[in-house]
Symmetry: C2
Subunit: 226 residues, 2 copies
């Protein structure tokens, strides 16, 4: 069984209000991106990291400063997330059974969750981690915001794991390059998705506050054996 991972490191720090892209900010002394990479170290054979071209200097500095798994292969991102995943798929060395696609800014997924996702994707062709939203939600419709039935809504996380051919076919037949995730690409190709219960802690580092929150989560994990 050959498993591979693609880690997609997105845009700049604009939304974050930081000069350094958020995947290069440090968490407990180590860049967010390196945390995300290490999640796959024991589970996959190769880890393709897709980086925007302008971040290659940040990466060069990272590998000078920290030990990085020799499973890592770097490739260059595209103009959209979708194009970046396509570049990541092209950079995979040889075939595989399962492929995980992960956001670089989700460093807190547990290895237990990732193992479970690979295992379920082996059975169901895909495994998409989801959690229920914690707040009431409203959606813009016409001139107002209408209440959504929260019970019916899922928040979608990564890593999303797929049988290799399904993911590759989905992206090779894709016309819409503005998709938000890989599940959507696979669904567009006519495949049913398999949802798996994700983790509250598997948060996407989105705002400056999140670094503080993520630090505390990591710290609390270090203090108790999992």
């Amino acid at each position: 069984m050959i498993n591979q991972a693609i880690i997609v490191a997105g845009g700049k720090g604009a939304r974050f209000g930081s000069v350094l892209p958020k995947q290069f900010l440090t968490l407990r002394g180590k860049p967010v991106l390196l945390h995300s990479i290490e999640l796959f170290e024991d589970i996959t054979d190769n880890i393709v990291v897709v980086l925007p071209e302008e971040q290659s200097d940040h990466w060069a500095l990272l590998v000078k400063t920290f030990p990085v798994s020799n499973k890592v292969i770097i490739t260059t991102g595209g103009a959209t997330r979708t194009e970046s995943v396509i570049n990541g798929l092209k950079a995979l060395p040889g075939p595989s059974d399962l492929i995980a696609v992960h956001d670089a800014v989700r460093p807190l997924a547990s290895k237990g969750l990732i193992e479970k996702l690979f295992s379920e994707a082996g059975l169901y062709e895909s495994a998409i981690p989801t959690i229920g939203p914690r707040d009431s939600l409203r959606m813009h419709q016409g001139t107002e915001y209408v209440v959504l039935d929260r019970q019916k809504v899922l928040a979608i996380q990564t890593p999303q794991v797929f049988k290799s051919d399904i993911l590759k076919n989905a992206y090779s037949s894709l016309s819409d390059h503005e998709l938000t995730d890989d599940a959507s690409a696979v669904e567009n190709a006519g495949k049913k998705l398999h949802f798996v219960h994700g983790e509250e802690w598997n948060m996407k580092i989105t705002w400056p506050e999140d670094i503080i929150i993520a630090e505390s989560i990591l710290k609390s994990r270090e203090n108790k054996p999992s």
Copy 2:
């Protein structure tokens, strides 16, 4: 200008997997509920706390252990959140200009946000704090989960602040007692809502992990003057 607050402390710890209701768990040595109460201490004239009857022992212990503002009035909750708010409205001592309704399990709203909500509700009759969701969202429709346009979705927080008569009229004319929040009650009464940008940190304590996260947020605030 008379401002009042109603703090609604909901159900048991079932979802939380804890025996102690989550509003009585401690954050930095002080119960979550007390943090929530203190947010309103400087801004409102009265603070009605609506507690389920079975939590009166917890409250009795709390007031023995911690100093509690003399602005606090305790009343008993109903079978649903809506009924609890109605009880809270009945317990308000005398008229007011503006009323805030807040979830007991959101201890991290900033006083700056609360002041802003009161100020905007004075101008626009209501002020509802909202933030954009950070994950992709899907909603159950028919046999599948359809991708929602995240740009169009708002996550709704509390406190929600209203002109007093608008909130009271909304609840006095209400037929549906399963509403998720006060904004919905006011909207059902035909009023337009005014949304205000909320705070990422104003999280609802929902899962055990959240206590650790909330602790770290409070700690980081103590370390830097706001």
